[in-house]
Amino acid sequence: MNFDELFGNFPALTITGLEQGAIYALIALGYTLVYGVLRLINFAHSEVFMVGTFTAMWTWQALGYDQNAAAPSLGPLILALIAGLVVAMAASALTAVTVELVAYRPLRRRNAPPLAFLITAIGASFVLAESFGIGTRRAPFGQADLIPSKTVFTLFGAEVTNKQLLILGVTLVMMVALDQFVNRSRLGRGIRAVAQDADTAALMGVNKNRVILLVFVLGGLMAGVGALLWDIRFNYTKFNVGFLIGLKAFAAAVLGGIGNLRGALLGGLLLGVVENYASGLFGGEWKDFTGFVLLIVLLMFRPTGLLGESLGRARA
């Protein structure tokens, strides 16, 4: 136990924790949306994220920013970021929709038991990860730093970089946009209706299958944003990069209350911060265990999560 490390670097650990937690939160949204509507843990969601990290990097490489490229100036940088963002979001959403259409919808039509859905989900996850693994020869895929890290200001002795501000800012914007969409728009009302009671919603004229498709698209878009932020932060991806982060994002979703959008944000940020404190306290090799331990403890004492479970109850 290293309390000096924890308290000495408390502000810095908090800031980097929030930065990582933001990425967890964006992925957790996908789990939460699908779970809220279908009561299904979409194991393939971690691969939806993985596809996003790859496609964003491929876009940058196609634009000429490969391993040895110098960091671009502001104009081209913004262009590259937007191109990467659009491609990653589109690719992730497309992957999520494909999984829904190919794997889950046929099962729903056959009224398969919940176990069948879970088994299919894990199968889909491995098919996606393995096809990228075989395609990339299981090698890590790197990228030169697009945005050189620069300290913008210091807060209680912790340096806050431009990257961290960008990641947190984008996450908050996406979060607010999604929250408003689900709570205010007509389509969002459909999502909440199906989440509350699918059969009644169908009687009221809500097209269930369209709502489910929409939910997968939204989850995919959020995962795509998360993937871009991950690329900016780590400049690296690999075919199995989604697995651990998917597990943590799911833990974050349960932590905040699965099926609850704001809960996903809270859970993600909380997990990122707690994880960093734990690595300060016990040493870096314990970092990845934190989420899992937290998940088990939470399931023992408060299985509904911090903010409660239901997507249907989330009102403006």
């Binding site: 009561r39 299904l40 843990i41 194991f43 190919v102 794997a103 046929p106 099962l107 039509r109 056959r110 009224n111 398969a112 038991p113 919940p114 176990l115 069948a116 879970l118 088994i119 299919t120 894990i122 199968g123 889909a124 996850s125 491995f126 098919v127 393995e130 096809s131 075989i134 169908a202 097209n207 299958n209 697995f243 651990l244 597990l247 799911f250 833990a251 349960v254 090799e285 990845d288 265990f289 899992f292 998940l295 088990i296 399931l299 023992m300 299985p303």
Partner: protein, 384 residues
């Protein structure tokens, strides 16, 4: 519909089998078991007229040592039989089954190896029961908080558990010695008729025979369990947990039992594996293996012990065999590379088109057919 077609096709064999005199059935089973025991012997193929190494199209593997492949296949079959108790009988999704296998292997390694930090140097045989106990107890600890909740939480918690075990093994330099692993694990005891140790390094056959014997013992136990009060409780829980609870089945208790028994079988398998391998490190317990075992159970037919055996044999043996076939045809084709991809696809396709598996359990097949029938009116809803 497919369900009725299956019924006709399998009913023919089934009823004919059931109509045979008991002695004939026993003789057939005994012959099959004897065949399985003599499979890895070289003289068997020479006797049949296509010795190993010849160009004949045969069922042995040419790329890797056939006895070794048979041992690995047997490991998979035993794991599938154990996981079948959890997934097939009780209907609980355990995605981290290999975690318990790793626990069994590491327990044996830590207790027996002179290189381990524990320094206990137990003989292999003494460590095996403890390995089984450790796996079982960890199953209870893991299942305790999660089995009270909805079934899908169990899936993600077990998934995390297996990965955490691997991560811990990979990063912990002190006790589990990371990727360097734990060497010098002793072999199982026993001396052959020629005075040499029965379980050596080169010959994998004794290990295969040991594994086969264990499979037979576990099969008998599991079969009896499935036909007992416990087995009926599992089926009730799988079909409708709420109804089972109302009818007075202590669902939590029986779910925990299924989980613990599955974990114990995995621990036992891991212990034997450690005894053969003499060296284990974190790389041997990757998560993909958990998924392969699950694919084996699903492919074979969850809830049916015969199905689990068939599935386990197919998932490991077939890719190894295909490697040799690629050589015969002159194609460089590493089937093992695509194993996870192919079986992932197989799982998805099976769940959609034949969820009851290749060798279905009759009751489970009926469950799926029933649910499908209930779903039919929905398909005619116009805005589908």
């Amino acid at each position: 519909m497919t369900a009725t077609v299956d019924k006709k096709r399998t009913a023919g064999f089934r009823s004919r089998w059931a109509a045979m005199p008991k002695q004939v059935r026993w003789a057939a089973i005994a012959a099959l078991i004897v065949l399985l025991y003599i499979l890895p012997n070289k003289w068997f193929y020479e006797y049949l007229g296509f010795p190993i190494g010849s160009d004949y199209f045969a069922f042995y593997t040419t790329r890797s040592d056939f006895a070794g492949v048979l041992f690995d296949t047997a490991v998979f079959v035993l794991l599938a039989v154990g996981l079948n108790v959890v997934v097939g009988f009780a209907g609980l999704l355990d995605l981290g089954y290999f975690g318990f296998y790793a626990l069994g292997a590491y327990t044996v390694a830590l207790l027996t190896s002179p290189e381990s930090r524990f320094g206990t140097n137990w003989p292999w045989l003494a460590a095996v029961p403890l390995a089984v106990m450790v796996a079982m107890v960890s199953g209870v600890i893991l299942g305790g908080p999660t089995l009270r909740l909805r079934g899908d939480y169990l899936a993600i918690v077990t998934l995390g558990f297996a990965e955490m075990i691997r991560l811990y093994a990979a990063r912990n330099e002190g006790v589990l010695q990371g990727q360097r692993g734990i060497p010098a694990i002793p072999h199982p005891p026993g001396t052959g008729s020629d005075g040499k140790p029965l379980f050596g390094v080169v010959d994998a056959r004794p290990y295969y025979w040991l594994m086969l014997t264990l499979i037979l013992i576990v099969l008998l136990l599991v079969r009896n369990l499935a036909n007992s009060r416990v087995g009926r409780a599992w089926v009730a829980i799988r079909e409708d947990e709420d109804a089972a609870e109302i009818m007075g089945v202590p669902t939590f208790k029986y779910k925990l039992w299924a989980f613990a028994i599955g974990a114990a079988v995995a621990g036992l398998t891991g212990a034997v594996f450690a005894g053969k391998q003499t060296f284990i490190n974190s790389d041997q317990f990757v998560l993909e293996s958990s998924i392969l075992v699950l694919a084996a159970v699903i492919l074979g037919g969850a809830g049916n012990i015969k199905g689990a055996i068939v599935g386990g044999a197919v998932t490991w043996y077939l890719p190894e065999w295909l490697r040799g076939i690629g050589d015969l045809l002159g194609v460089e084709f590493d089937a093992a590379e695509y194993r996870i991809l192919v079986f992932g696809l197989v799982v998805i396709v099976m769940m959609i088109f034949r969820p009851q598996g290749l060798v279905p359990n009759r009751r489970r097949a009926a469950e799926f057919a029933d649910r499908r029938k209930e779903a039919v009116p929905q398909e005619t809803v116009p805005n589908e």
